[in-house]
């Protein structure tokens, strides 16, 4: 047995410990039903508690299971999105001639950047997203995008402004 000095953070940790002790098995079961497999469920359950530990305030939820599942739900959606993106990314790479493929070291970095962008653009309507990607990735100007998509210039400019505003909120809003 080890003893250790009492720190102020121990109080927060002990409430997380209680959450973990009383509800982690339930949470893993809940996640397993959502995901259909036990390993991802265990991983995400772990992430839920890591996230809670990272918070400033010790959680004292009135409804611990509702609290845990609301955090878990967000992580499950992220997990699905990431899986979808990884698959599309691998398919894209697979279709590429060997010589044009990015180096193995770069692939991870690129995938991470894609995941970040995908998450950032998640809330945008498809036409807005599409216009913004054409501008950002292919470097098309607004008139070129308008022509490509068969919409008016002012519509494209509105889309771009909306996408920038959204990214700004994601990045800088407190």
């Amino acid at each position: 047995m080890r003893t250790r000095p009492v720190k102020s953070s121990d109080c927060a940790n002990s409430s997380v410990e209680a959450l973990y002790r009383d509800h982690s098995t339930w949470l893993r079961g809940w996640l397993r039903r959502k995901l259909g497999n036990a390993f991802d469920a265990a991983d995400i359950a772990q992430d839920v508690f890591i996230r809670i530990l990272g918070r400033q305030q010790p959680p004292q939820p009135a409804e611990p299971r509702a609290y845990l599942s609301s955090i878990a739900r967000g992580l499950v959606i992220d997990h699905w999105r990431r899986r979808e993106l990884e698959k599309a990314w691998l398919e894209t790479l697979a279709a590429l001639p060997e010589a044009q493929a990015p180096s193995p070291e770069n692939r991870l970095l690129l995938l991470e950047a894609l995941v970040a962008i995908d998450r950032m653009l998640d809330a945008l309507r498809p036409p807005v997203r599409q216009a913004f990607l054409l501008a950002q990735l292919e470097g098309l100007t607004c008139p070129q995008i308008a022509e490509r998509l068969g919409v008016s210039l002012s519509t494209v400019e509105r889309h771009i402004a909306k996408a920038l505003r959204h990214c700004y909120e994601v990045q800088f809003a407190a």
């Binding site: 698959k87 894609l114 990735l137 292919e138 505003r165 800088f172």
Partner: protein, 333 residues
């Protein structure tokens, strides 16, 4: 280098909106000289303007890093998949985790980038079986209520059995420069396949390894008591050693073909075996458990198997509910 905008300090909405309008005019259009001049005036008018402008500009950083064609086609592919899948997305995600194995393995066989060591995995529900074909040519069949993960990225191929039972027929690993060792890991120890077809089944505190072709070398978790299992043999692998496994009265690995093929099997053992493929409870009264049974029983229809047994043996099925069945003596009231 310009100083990054102070994190957390919020700028007035009007200023941010203005910066975005300028960005649309200048970054996303070909701006006329007089537009640029007007922009310079706006920028110089207030330090907040510059701060907002830098923040808006920084939003483009993530994109600049990406090769445009790759990123575009990936994001478009994922977009269109999300649109078409709609409600069926959860189902698609399930399938995807399986398809992912072959795909991942296809890449990982070729090189060893760290992110490709991400572990792919698959599992089955009670009564379900699944066949996985990995990129190295290996076939893994999952029996009822089983879970595995596959990692083909490294110097060795590794399958981890987390739950239940699998049959493995190892593949030629043609994509790799040299055929890599093939390992299966269980909670009680690991084993190396020596060119082969074999079944691994987790039990309480140990794993049963039955070899149909080739041989398998057992490595108990403690490091002691390793052994080689040859074709036709079965051994228990525990963390402190291994021992010969008694025959259990049915053909090893026949479940791959969807049957239990019993030869003088104890009824109690057969019922326990059938129970693995059913939801709910299936129990056997000790008074009839020693009755010998032979025959072929289909795993997909355990209900039919039970009725067949009831017709040919002095036993009786008692249904408490559809999911709670007891097998007892025929004479029992």
């Amino acid at each position: 280098m310009s100083a990054p905008a102070t994190a957390g300090a919020s700028l007035p909405d009007g200023v941010v909106d203005a910066a975005i309008r300028w960005s649309v005019k200048i970054d996303f259009n070909r701006a006329a000289p007089e537009t640029l001049a007007a922009f310079q005036q706006w920028l110089a008018a207030d330090p907040l303007h510059r701060q907002a402008w830098e923040r808006v500009g920084s939003l483009r950083g993530d994109f600049a890093k990406l090769p445009s064609r790759l990123a575009m086609s990936t994001l478009q592919a994922v977009d269109s998949r999300r649109r078409t899948d709609g409600a069926g997305r959860r189902q698609a995600m399930k399938l995807l985790s399986l398809a992912g194995i072959a795909l991942f393995a296809g890449w990982t066989a070729r090189d060893h980038a760290p992110w490709q060591r991400l572990v792919a995995d698959a599992s089955t529900a009670t009564g379900e079986q699944k066949t996985l074909r990995l990129a190295d040519g290996t076939v893994v069949v999952l029996n009822t209520d089983s879970a595995v993960s596959a990692d083909l990225a490294g110097e060795r191929r590794l399958i981890t059995l987390h739950r239940g039972e699998i049959m493995i027929a190892t593949g030629p690993d043609d994509e790799a420069a040299a055929r890599r060792p093939f390992w299966v890991r269980t909670p009680f120890g690991a084993m190396q396949a020596l060119g082969t077809r074999f079944v691994v089944r987790l039990d309480d505190g140990r794993a049963r390894v039955s070899v149909q072709e080739g041989a398998v070398e057992l490595h108990p978790a403690s490091g002691n008591g390793g052994a080689i299992v040859r074709a036709g043999e079965s051994r228990w692998l525990a963390d402190n050693g291994s021992e010969i496994a008694e025959t259990h009265g049915f053909a090893e690995g026949a479940w791959v073909d969807g049957v239990i093929s019993a030869q003088d099997m104890r009824l109690g053992d057969l019922i326990a075996e059938l129970a693995r493929y059913r939801s709910g409870r299936l129990g056997c009264d000790p008074r009839v458990a020693d009755l010998p049974v032979s025959g072929t029983f289909h795993l997909r229809n355990t209900e039919q198997a039970l009725h067949f047994l009831a017709q040919t043996l002095p036993i009786r099925l008692t249904y408490r509910t559809r999911y709670w069945v007891n097998v007892g003596p025929a004479a029992d009231g």
